[in-house]
């Protein structure tokens, strides 16, 4: 354990050294400064804690309407899957012979749901849903998985507070693991 700590410390020092080098070296004066407004317009990254979730809110009931109009044709009427991945079910199946990876059984962080739907869904018209619609459809998918009640209304705070069943299901890469 002491060896590992020492190694981690050495790695951190190397990292700091590299970052320092990247800070200190010459610049070419290429490009122009991005403004705060430009960054805000393009930066749609949401972290796992949901600290960057935008204003807005949506209910399970609103989400059902959005889902039926925008999602059900690929993901099934109740998220059971079709052309698109299954979104519902599979909780408790991950260690079985037939694991079913869905939002409910596998996704570790609820804010990632907002991030992914906003940037990439629906597949034929990504970035077309409003923030309210993304909150609503996130609420509906979580509700179908039994993770929020029927009357739930999700906003930045409420979505970030949803604890996903598989939150602690991920481990670091141990490879090389086969010798």
């Amino acid at each position: 354990m002491a060896t590992r700590d020492a190694r981690a410390l050495a790695a951190a020092l190397v990292l700091l050294g590299l970052a320092g080098a990247a800070r200190a070296a010459e610049r070419y004066g290429i490009g122009r400064t991005a403004t705060e407004a430009e960054i805000a317009a393009w930066n749609i990254d949401i972290d796992r804690e949901g600290r960057k979730l935008p204003p807005g809110s949506g209910s399970v009931a609103q989400g059902r309407a959005v889902f039926e109009a925008q999602c059900a044709s690929c993901h099934g009427a109740r998220g059971e899957g079709g052309v698109g991945d299954p979104l519902v079910g599979g909780q408790g199946s991950l260690a079985s012979a037939k694991p079913l990876k869905t939002v409910g059984s596998f996704w570790p962080y609820a804010p990632t749901l907002f991030d992914y739907i906003r940037r990439a869904m629906p597949m034929n018209a990504p970035e077309s849903l409003s923030a309210d619609e993304v909150y609503a459809v996130s609420a509906y998918i979580l509700n179908l998985n039994g993770l929020v009640p029927d009357e739930a209304v999700l906003d930045a705070h409420a979505l970030a507070a949803v604890r996903m069943p598989n939150r602690d299901g991920f481990v670091p890469d141990p490879r090389p693991d086969v010798r």
């Binding site: 991005a34 930066n43 972290d47 996704w107 940037r119 299901g169």
Partner: protein, 413 residues
């Protein structure tokens, strides 16, 4: 192979499919006689096509069957993949038109004059760069392989050809600027630990890259094998992370967000994580471990008794290939194959072994050893540790079964 010197063997298996093809074979034979001694071939008796008759050259019409391997009958083709025809290629460089594809939201049609790269987050000066800006930075060229992490899945090893099995690997010479150079231009803050890269495709695909890789050998690439990137490979700008799984090498790059933590995006939580038998999933499984495959003889080909050169490709995300061993007796004995120079770090390496087939049924297989001493595992050794449900990072050896007829088929199937 039963050789008719005027009938290229690689073509024959296509010619024998179907009655129309059989008719073409007869026609081909007749034409072949007209070109064999003592006859003078027709193409010597009149001038050929004019210089410049093709302003962007394409392969001979007789190579029309060397194409990407596109799976049939998928539910949709927006988020899907096509494979490189490995068994039809020589050397280590993949022609740009045959480079494997894996897209998550289709192939965008990007005007480079309107494309912008934004660098923001934990930097001293957030930047916006045009493509002209990016090409002003000092450039470098390197040959690296690129491989999809699901090549193949653990439960999809029933393919017939080398391409069906591991055709989600390709190799090219990439030209661009070091990512470190561009990050240095913006100035990293001390707490910078990850760079989140985003594509300008309809998936706005997002992956987090550890800062150590960004400051090591990572590239922002605009050219591939001497010409600008093809749209399928990220035109006009992509990330290349030598040895790391394909999905992280974000195409159509438009944004680099320097952060203290990973984004934990969908592509690094619900996808591209490796489910283990105990129900946990390995996350941030970046490196593609050492792997090899014999591309000739390989599945669907047919060989004849006598001399053959066994050849194939090997690669490792951890560095150079140190050696490739080949068995021609189903794993009882292994011989060292010759490696074609140059042997480059994190590039495909071509191997060869002369072999005389005695006509007895057997199994051929190759295994790669990289410069770290890591040995490519068998499928049974790999799945003994990881089970059958991890999907990604299957680098097991591929057996080719040779039947008494000389028919080569997948030893897994």
């Amino acid at each position: 192979m039963t050789r008719d010197p005027d009938d290229p063997p690689a073509r024959r298996r296509f010619l024998v499919q179907g009655a129309a093809a059989a008719a073409a074979l007869v026609g081909g034979r007749a034409r072949a006689e007209e070109a064999a001694p003592p006859a003078i071939p027709a193409w010597m008796k009149a001038p050929g096509a004019d210089v410049g008759s093709q302003t962007y050259g394409t392969p001979s019409r007789f190579e029309a069957d060397v194409i990407r391997n596109v799976p049939k009958g998928l539910k949709q083709y927006t988020s899907a993949s096509s494979r490189t025809p490995l068994q039809d290629l020589d050397g280590i460089l993949t022609p740009n038109g045959l480079f494997y594809e894996r897209h998550h939201g289709g192939i965008p049609d990007i005007d480079p004059a309107r494309h912008r790269l934004m660098i923001h987050g934990l930097v001293e000066t957030p930047l916006i760069l045009t493509m002209d800006d990016i090409r002003r930075f000092p450039s470098e060229s390197h040959i690296y392989f690129l491989e999809c992490s699901g090549n193949p899945g653990f439960e999809a090893i029933k393919g017939r050809t080398a391409s069906d099995l591991v055709g989600l690997v390709s190799c090219a010479e990439w030209t661009g600027v070091r990512l470190a150079t561009v990050l240095r231009e913006a100035g990293l803050k001390p707490e910078a630990r990850w760079v989140v890269a985003e594509g300008a495709d309809a998936a706005a695909l997002t992956r987090s890259i550890p800062i150590a890789k960004c400051l090591d050998d990572a590239l922002l690439v605009y050219s591939q094998n001497g010409e600008r990137l093809r749209p399928q490979q990220g035109y006009p700008l992509r990330v290349i992370l030598p040895g790391f799984e394909g999905n992280m090498n974000v195409k159509w790059l438009r944004r680099l967000n320097v952060t203290a933590e990973p984004a934990y995006s969908r592509e690094e939580t619900s996808k591209y994580t490796d489910l283990m038998p105990d129900g946990t999933a390995r996350q941030f499984t970046f490196v593609m471990e050492a792997k090899s495959i014999i591309t000739r003889p390989s599945g669907t080909q047919r060989i004849a008794q006598g001399f053959h050169e066994i050849t194939g490709i090997a690669w490792s995300g951890r560095g150079k290939i140190r050696g490739v061993q080949v068995t021609t007796d189903g794993g009882k004995t292994w011989q060292d194959a010759a490696l074609q120079e140059p042997v480059l770090t994190r590039a495909l390496t071509r191997f060869r072994l002369p072999w005389t087939w005695d006509g007895q049924p057997t199994t051929l297989m190759s295994r790669a050893i990289d410069e770290t001493g890591y040995v490519q595992p068998s499928f049974s050794d790999l799945t003994a540790v990881r089970g059958l449900k991890s999907f990604y990072h299957n680098n097991a050896t591929v057996p080719w079964r040779i039947a008494e007829s000389g028919e080569v088929s997948n030893g897994y199937a």
